[in-house]
Point group: C2
Chain length 353, copies 2
Amino acid sequence: MVTTITVRGETHAEPGYAVTIGERVLDDARTKLAGRRAVIVTDPHVRGLHAARLALDAPIVEVERGEAAKRFATLERVLEDFARLGLGRGSVVVGLGGGSIGDLAGLAASLYMRGLELVQCPTTLLAQVDASVGGKTAVDLAAGKNLAGTFHAPSAVFADTSTLTTLADDEFRSGLGEVLKSALLDGEEFVARLETSADRIARREPHVLHELVARSVRLKSAIVERDPRERDERKALNLGHTFAHAIEHVAGYGRVPHGVAVAVGVGLALRAGGAQELADRVERLARALGLVATLAELRTHTRLDLPATALAQSMQLDKKGVARSPRFVLLDAPGRVRWDQSLEPRVLERVLA
Amino acid sequence: MVTTITVRGETHAEPGYAVTIGERVLDDARTKLAGRRAVIVTDPHVRGLHAARLALDAPIVEVERGEAAKRFATLERVLEDFARLGLGRGSVVVGLGGGSIGDLAGLAASLYMRGLELVQCPTTLLAQVDASVGGKTAVDLAAGKNLAGTFHAPSAVFADTSTLTTLADDEFRSGLGEVLKSALLDGEEFVARLETSADRIARREPHVLHELVARSVRLKSAIVERDPRERDERKALNLGHTFAHAIEHVAGYGRVPHGVAVAVGVGLALRAGGAQELADRVERLARALGLVATLAELRTHTRLDLPATALAQSMQLDKKGVARSPRFVLLDAPGRVRWDQSLEPRVLERVLA
């Protein structure tokens, strides 16, 4: 089975792009790229697992695995490699890997000669349900994650669900955190579907993984079509993320996988917004999916203190220690979302305790 | 006198921007920026000459003078400075200086948090007539100039013509090379105007400088409105540039000022395209403007060999030494332009001899 979801372009001049989801769709990517001058950006781990599936004679530019790839020095090296390989305006950059690869390859593609065509081949659950759609690209600065980047839409996304069976458990679960978020933004039906199929998801049954990816992509596509530059509604996709970023920051980047922090953050956002029953329900669902459901569980599980004051401070102070008012996405019920909300400090303290 | 030229946005969602041209318009920039959180990107030389005119209490990020600023390492440092200064989505980046400052400040603005507002305050003739309008940003790679960049339109451009009196003769003349190109693209009236006022231009009379900047900006605005991403007509703005880039490359970057190479390149393009009479006329005009008019004069003037074979090779081989077909902009008469043209190798050899 193959599902194709089309994302309209930002302007009428732009053609938009198709997200193709299915068990062997890297073969479709190969067909699309045949005869084109292409370069594959990937890491050594993903290269070993999946690059042969693309089976292009395209050169491969290797970068570090994970967040380590999203550095300025790596970006510069990749761009110099593009030049050395003689890429021109008609060339295509293929990002093959997880969210970090997609972010870096996307930024390199958007900068080289002021913009090359980009094809995303996400190989992690997180990248398939979230990062590969919507055109955000980024590298990190010393001062924070994703601080330098562009919006650069791909010309196509190939989400091959067979790659999901190769993920380590932690990596797979991290993706489920973003799926949980998508379900809550989407509505009751998607949430109920996760509840009734949690065990099949944990067993990574192909059919149900396909459905999760397709539902999540459909939700995200609809939102980024309406608000490509995150001026308004796209902010809803940050449900749980103000808390998650504070958790990742206080833990030290890389200690808590992003999606794991998001799952905990979603629960915290629900409690802070006063949706106690929904929070209880989401915590049960998170546990059923093998995710850490609460801040208390995360502290036990990671053996990290994650003090409430440090988390609150991380949200309330910017990099110079200047006070700011953190913004939250809150949910009244599945599918009923409010963004750009503020929270009382005492409410924050209570949920972080 | 103040002239304001409005450049429409690329999409209906974008507001477009005004280019304000006049003797004291840095004061208008100050007014526009009052109360905004801003940062000024400039070099030590321009800072000493003009930063006080902006008289903001905004912090200043200093970069190297000239093309040396357009390096990846400088870009990274500027972005880290932005973070250290606590810039947020509502902040404004002000580029104060020549074309290199504008290119670098523009790229930093377009990348930081995926895009901050940008105000360009060009202080050289070249930047006022060309670089500050149209939204191109760039840094250089080891493999070539301007190879990494974005399109990021400013929210306003303030071209203060009083800054032009502070330019060194070489720098001023380099700008005249781009003015000459603009006049030829625009039509007979602009070319004739340059011919009748060459001596007043050389004396840098304020009134005539104002007119040159306004005419050039009007021409460029109209073209970039119709083709913001250089897919078609905007290529016309590269008149003389295929030759100019080869001259700059063979001479060694920085040895021949860009606009000086452009003036020679325009003459070569006219000859190569068979417009001999117009080429004669343009060479006379270039000399009247104090510019080097021909390749032979440039060789004498710079004491550089600039061998024909090396120039031809620079155009015909890419960075890997792979053959390519260089594209040229040709002119049948002032205002009658053809882009994306190729030339016979023997024609190239003849004009480069």
